[in-house]
Amino acid sequence: MTSPSELASHLLDRLGIQGKPDLVQVAQRIGLRIVEVDAEAFDGSLVRALDGPKGIVAVKQSLREISRKRFTIAHEIGHYLIPSHRNLENVCTGGMIESWQKGLNKPELEANEFAVELLLPTRYVREPLQLNDPSLKTIGRVASQFETSLTATTLRFVSLTDLPCVAVWSEGRRARWYRRSDAFPFYLSKEILPCDGSFAYGLFEGSNAPDDFAEIPAETWLDRQDADRVVRVLEHSIGLPNYDAVLTLLQFELKDVGDEEDPPNIEDLDPEDFTVRRKRWPR
């Protein structure tokens, strides 16, 4: 089976949609109706026929941002089309939609992946996102153009750029999840992030943060061993008070492999280091 994003891309191709998709039009073509409802405990739901393609996407009327409504609808369309989701429980609460926490079950993550490609088609966002020049301002402009959230659009950027970048979502003073680009080789210890000294931490403390990328000590986001392998770290954090959250985009300049210390000469190695009689163990 192909990936959810390939499925979304193929759907857009078949419908001949270029640029920002009209979700009502997409839904109509595949037998779906979209209704806004006065729901209490869910953001979106899919009620579908078991006999074949026909159904209703219900979206919570009181969602404030149009970007969140669009993402919710696209997410439910994902559940509708991904074959392995046909027998799922399909009420999606706020925490499942537009979230990339590892704790989410696979279908929810797949529906999110589908939604990102449907709303921000790779072929139409590559150029405006300026993938070689990370900037939350540019990402914000693309988000406005495609009526998507800053978070979803930032993740789209990170998934497409060839630069070492990481997007971090912190909520209630704790990093909840992060997404790294393919070029970023390390992991973040999100249990202890954001650390004191980062702009993200400062925003939770009520401080202001620079309105563009600014350099920050590498140890603020990386453990010491990884910090030694980067030249510098740039951070741009934006507070999202409605969610008690901070969105951070990190950009890294990695040391060239040639900058690493020369490996020890083979003659310098103690053969006993490779037996149970070794005296020194690596810390």
């Binding site: 729901a39 209490e40 579908r48 393609p53 799922l88």
Partner: protein, 141 residues
């Protein structure tokens, strides 16, 4: 084609047509045209059943159980046991041919969710009724 596949095919034909003398004319008249040279017999049965189902839907009738069953079983033999084996083209093709007529069963799994409230349950029950309803007239408006 191995013996298992042949048996599945024969069963599907039986489900779809039963006794040919008593078969619906709509199903029978396309039968022979379907089995052209070089065609996969399972694909032919699937196409035949799909066409019959579409005809019923266009007429606003419910798809008869024997046609639905034939579709289901041939689809399994064509695609393997898992719906996950469907490829992108198949998935989109299927979605672009939606049902407008009435349907009998809708997904009710939301009932098992912890987050449910009575108000939400009532809401989704109402939407389920709407999905079951015939949309043919709405489409023509």
């Amino acid at each position: 084609m191995d013996e298992k596949e042949i048996k599945a095919l024969v069963k599907a034909i039986d489900q779809l047509l039963g006794d040919p003398l008593r078969a619906d004319a709509r199903e029978l008249e396309t039968l022979f045209a379907e089995f052209g040279e070089g065609r996969n017999p399972a694909q032919s049965i699937f196409d035949l059943a799909a066409r019959a189902a579409q005809q019923y839907r266009l007429e606003g009738s419910a798809v008869p159980a024997h046609v639905a069953e034939a579709l289901k079983s041939v689809k399994k033999s064509l695609l393997g046991e898992s719906m996950g084996a469907l490829n992108t083209v198949d998935v989109i093709n299927e979605a672009l041919n939606p049902i407008y007529g009435p349907v009998r069963e809708v997904s009710y799994a939301f009932r098992n969710r912890r987050e449910r409230t009575q108000k939400d349950t009532d809401l989704l029950e109402k939407l389920s009724g709407e999905v079951k309803r015939d949309w043919t007239e709405d489409k023509e408006k």
